[in-house]
Amino acid sequence: MWIRMLTAMLAATLLLIALLSANPEYRLFMPGLLEGAVLTVEITLLGAVLAVFMALIAALAKLYGPLPIRWLSTTYIEIFRGTSALVQLFWLYFVLPQFGIFLDAFLVAVLALGLNIGAYGAEVVRGAIVSVARGQWEASIALNMSKAQMLRRIILPQAFTAMIPPWGNLFIELVKSTSLVSLITLADLTFKAQQMNQSTLKTVPVFTLVLLIYLAISLTVTIAMRLLEQRTSRGLTRGRVA
């Protein structure tokens, strides 16, 4: 139901982009903007992978690690949630070189955004794990599973479904915060738009297209997450037999 509506919106957005591109005023900017969009998508995808990885590690560390590890994880989460993504980008890109560490701008973008979203994600993962019914742990103990077996086979699969909607929000947040990387010299969608706007002063076509392209990317993320949710909730809600 929702998926159908979202898909219709995505189709409408893409159609609008296509219709506008029929106009030479607009078509002129499409190749450059699409080039920027590719970079935006790349940073989003790699950042998302890093974010999920970090979130999982940090959440498990915070929940079940020995005290020093719990501290480490809490420190990571609070630092990256408590400061802005822009400052984190600048810090990695402009401050680290002062200490002799030079990182490529693309790597910095993926690192900063992935770590930033991962810190929020850690709380999402932790919340989802904690929300799994206590009886599930108890049944696993009664079946003599080890802690690792319980987590891997019983708790995480159930927590996973609960995590998908909040992760959807975080990934959208990630898509939007990729625009910050234009400030560390990366030619992403926002960077290309500003560049073209400055050189041509065609503000309306440039920023209309940019808006629609961002929307198309975000809608795609939302639809993908909805599909994932549908697939994994099998059994957890009254559903069909496998």
Binding site: E138, I141, Q158, T237, G239
Partner: protein, 259 residues
């Protein structure tokens, strides 16, 4: 070792903060013995089972299973607190069925029954499935093996839970008010299954129940708990027919009146 009881609570106490839930409990359960625990709400019946399943730590005393300490282990002739490895080795002998079923909702009935045999016992999948199919057949659910818990009635879910516990081949089975969450018309099918495994398996069984009729007919011994202590225990005919203790009489009268 075989003259040791299957389960021994030796001076076991359990406290939650200032609240003493079980006070210096001593209880032996023989091999193959079927023991029912009855008593008013809050008297510590569930806690007895949960301690034995290692879901609750004990504060004092020692819990023995099959001739070995479970909460402790021998080191240089002294009992020291057990490691998780030791606990898991002993715990393998115990299975439990819960009031609220606690099936794994993301797995089918079959999936629930083969999960631990494969991951914990390291059984081959085909072997685990064969054994699970037998058990699901025994509880009358062959036709439902590919159903998820959400597609089963409460009585069916509880029977899957029993099959799942038996799949681990325990020597001791714990049942905590396993019919209390069921609609009245579904209670019978679950009790029927418990009767059957009582007959067919050489199991030691410890059950908390409000089904007095069932306790009377099924158990070798009935323990009446009151405020964290065993107030009276004995053969069902004794406890139900001729209770000695005033509290037991009051409790049984109240239960009989209720229904």
């Amino acid at each position: 070792m075989n003259d040791m009881p299957m389960v021994r609570f030796e001076n076991v106490s359990k406290r939650y903060g200032p609240l003493t839930v079980l006070d210096n409990l001593n209880l032996d359960i023989g091999r193959g013995e079927k023991v029912s625990i009855i008593g008013p709400s809050g008297s510590g019946k569930t806690t007895v089972l949960r301690m034995l399943m290692t879901l609750e730590a004990i504060n004092d005393g020692v819990l023995w299973v099959d001739g070995e300490p479970m909460t402790h282990m021998m080191q240089n002739g002294k009992l020291v607190p057990a490691t998780i490895k030791h606990i898991r080795r002993i715990r393998a002998k115990i299975g439990m069925v819960f009031q609220s079923f606690n099936l794994f909702p993301h797995m089918t009935a079959m999936g629930n029954c083969i999960e631990a045999p494969i991951t914990v016992l390291g059984m081959k999948r085909s072997e685990a499935e064969e054994r699970a199919a037998e058990l699901l057949d025994m509880v009358g659910l062959s036709a439902k093996k590919d159903h998820y818990p959400s597609q089963l009635s409460g009585g069916q879910q509880q029977r899957v839970a029993i099959a799942r516990a038996l799949a681990m081949r325990p020597k001791i089975m714990l049942f905590d008010e396993v019919t209390s969450a069921l609609d009245p018309e579904l209670v019978g099918e679950v009790l029927q299954v418990i009767r059957k495994i009582g007959r067919e398996h050489d199991l030691t069984m410890l059950m908390v129940t409000h089904q007095m009729g069932f306790a009377k007919e099924f158990s070798d011994r009935v323990c009446f708990f009151y405020q964290g202590k065993i107030c009276e225990q004995g053969a069902p005919a004794e406890i139900f027919g001729n209770p000695k203790n005033e509290r037991t009489r009051q409790f049984l009268n109240a239960v009989l009146e209720a229904g």
